[in-house]
């Protein structure tokens, strides 16, 4: 009676038996979750594991680091992003081995897209799927996104952190791998005609942090992300009404409402470049504007050159 298609589902009798088991457990003084776990021994293994996981999570018995990153949840949403990675955007990753497999590292990339950092999540996927020693990178998110409901809570759980020097320094000091997008909102807000033209790299704060913490900088060129929301114009009225830094007008948004938020299925190519070692400079060099500016320009030029190269390599944007 068990429906046999990959996973086995128990029949109605088994479910009733399970519920009776829970009842016996509760009557004997167990709390409902423990009773459910004990009664689940009769169920197929996959359901038993499921009940264990649910019971554990409902008791709060899971790990969450001091940033709010919840690895179990990140793994749970992995299939969704895997779909985007392999099917929707057909991402091709190059040079993943340039990402250090341990210790602190600063991944610097061009930025495009929307309030949800799809480029960061695809870089994460590339590291998790293609690197011989995968590990979860953290990513810095535009401040404004962290004041929004749902999005802020979700991003924090999958490794997002509000952008800022204090957070970046602390993460790197903890030997994490951190993704930053120095273009910031100027990058996400650039019009479609300006795609793949890097904007100013802020004030070079990322270089200062890298110098102070002695973290290697890995420039990353992400091609494809700048076509998912082709921004034709922007709406000042909507931006003022929502408090957003800008509200883009694309061929589909806001005309199609929420449907217009579906990113276009462009073809992506992510290239990780050779790490730039900053250890030749002392941490105090972070106050030396010349060093900071030179390094910032070096990173920017590396990414820009790689972007043009990758654009040719990728070919057609959507097919």
């Amino acid at each position: 009676m068990a429906a046999a298609r990959g996973t086995t589902f128990p029949g109605p009798e088994a479910v009733a038996d399970f519920l009776r088991g829970v009842r016996v457990g509760v009557d004997s003084g167990l709390d409902p979750l423990a009773a459910a776990q004990r009664a689940a021994v009769e169920l197929p293994a996959n359901m038993r594991d499921g009940i264990d996981i649910v019971a554990r999570r409902l008791r709060g018995e899971y790990d969450e680091d001091e940033w709010g990153f919840d690895e179990e949840l990140a793994e749970a949403v992995f299939p969704l992003f895997d779909f985007l990675y392999t099917v929707w955007w057909r991402v091709e990753a190059a040079g993943v081995r340039n990402v250090p497999s341990h210790g602190r590292a600063l991944l610097v990339a061009n930025h495009a897209g929307s309030i949800f950092p799809f480029d960061a999540s695809m870089m994460t996927m590339a590291v998790m799927k293609e690197h011989p020693l995968p590990r979860w990178p953290r990513f810095m998110v535009l401040d404004w996104a962290f004041t929004l409901p749902f999005l802020s809570a979700f991003m924090r759980r999958v490794g997002g952190v509000p952008a800022g020097r204090d957070n970046a320094s602390r993460l790197l000091a903890q030997d994490q791998m951190l993704m930053v997008f120095p273009e910031g909102v100027k990058g996400t807000g650039k019009p479609f005609s300006q795609r793949y033209r890097l904007q100013r790299f802020g004030r070079g704060g990322f270089v200062e942090v890298a110098l102070r913490t002695g973290s290697p900088i890995v420039p990353v060129a992400v091609v494809g992300s700048e076509e998912i929301y082709p921004k034709l114009g922007e709406s000042r009225v909507l931006a003022r009404a929502t408090g957003a830094p800008f509200v883009p007008v694309t061929p589909t948004f806001p005309w199609l409402g929420a449907l217009g938020l579906i990113p276009l299925p462009s073809r992506w190519r992510i290239e990780f470049c050779e790490p730039i070692d900053v250890s030749e400079h002392a941490p105090e060099a972070a106050d030396d504007r010349r060093v900071v500016f030179d390094l910032s320009e070096q990173v920017r030029e590396t990414i820009q050159a790689k972007l043009y190269e990758s654009l040719v390599e990728r070919g057609s944007a959507f097919l």
């Binding site: 829970v22 009842r23 809570a153």
Partner: protein
């Protein structure tokens, strides 16, 4: 230090003042211990010399020099108004009380150190704030609530005092909110509700300090004060959703524009009064502070980390549950019974 230290605690009638007095009484290095407050502490104190006085009145300036204390511990800062009292009383006690205390300190030549039980509320709560505030980051973000401004103001007074008297060590402890089964604070009452209202779509990162660590930290700071501000917080942080699961309380998500009014109504019952503005922001954006200075300079290691404090609270406050319990047995009977 042959004769031992002479310590005076303000706000000794409060839970924290009394707890600290009780711990310091056991310290043989302290030869004289006094406590000032308007009401006697609930707990029985031993050798503490209780002085009944209102910190807001100039009488403190006459009493303090006579005690010849070398250490003043200011526990008289309130975080929320006492039940039935308006929020303006909070400002009176915190700001005016502190001013009078400092005036009294000016007249006490024996004084060597001041330890203040302040609040981490000075940092505020912002969506995009640094995840862990370090001490120099205070006042970098706008001061949004009355309480925040009060705390900032009285920190200013202490900073000025410290500048005027470089020989006196002024230690400003910035406490994160405390949690403990014996505590009767608005936050503990909030977490003991049968259904805990939360803000829809927000899951703040919190650091609630275990009550033992709160007393332990201030005791450590009395023994070894350092100059300037010190954050007092547990290691790590915990999200509200996980916290509620550990204390086994169902959350009730309310859209955040309605949460303020809901909490203020609840606040009256919880005795939080007008402080709800701080609580709303704390429960929307959370706040984390860096406790490195406490660990390394004051030398106090919190016994409980952020999750540990909650687990300990959940274990001990289990019997506190109010309201009906949804009985799983009856639900199951209904389902299984219906199937025949």
């Amino acid at each position: 230090m042959a004769s031992g230290r002479r310590v005076l605690i303000t706000g000794v009638g409060s839970h924290w003042g009394a707890e600290l007095a009780r711990r310091l009484e056991r310290d043989p290095g302290i030869s004289y211990l006094a406590g000032i407050d308007t009401a006697r502490p609930h707990a029985e104190l031993g050798r503490t010399d209780f002085i009944e006085a209102d910190l807001r009145s100039p009488v403190v300036s006459r009493i303090l020099p006579g005690t010849e204390v070398d250490t003043v511990v200011h526990c008289g800062i309130l975080w929320y108004p006492e039940p039935g009292k308006p929020a303006s009383a909070l400002h009176e006690i915190n700001v005016i009380g502190t001013l009078q205390l400092l005036a009294a300190c000016e007249r006490t030549p024996t004084l060597e150190r001041i330890v203040v039980r302040g609040s981490a509320a000075i940092y505020g709560c912002e969506g995009a704030a640094p995840a862990f505030f370090t001490e120099p980051l205070a006042r970098r973000l706008p001061l949004r609530t009355r309480f925040q401004r009060d705390i900032s103001e009285l920190e200013d007074y202490f900073e000025n005092f410290a500048r005027r008297h470089p020989e006196i060590v002024c230690c400003m402890l910035r406490f994160q909110p405390e949690i403990g089964p014996d505590l009767d604070t608005p936050l503990v009452r909030y977490l003991s509700l049968p259904v805990v209202p939360t803000q829809l779509g927000f899951d703040p990162r919190l650091q609630l300090l275990h009550a033992d660590d709160a007393t332990g930290a201030i005791e450590a700071a009395v023994r070894r004060p350092v100059r300037g501000a010190v954050n007092v917080a547990p290691d790590g942080a915990i999200s509200l959703s996980r916290l509620l699961r550990i204390v086994r309380r169902p959350g009730l998500p309310i859209p955040h524009p309605l949460f303020g009014p809901a909490l203020s109504r609840l606040g009256r019952e919880l005795g939080a009064g007008a402080l709800y503005g701080d609580a709303v922001r704390l429960l929307r954006f959370g706040r984390g502070v860096d406790n490195a200075r406490l660990r390394e300079e004051v030398g106090y290691d919190a016994r409980f980390d952020a999750a540990g404090a909650i687990r300990d609270f959940a274990g001990k406050a289990g019997g506190r549950r109010v309201g009906p319990r949804l009985h799983p047995a009856s639900v199951i009977d209904r389902i299984v019974g219906a199937r025949g």
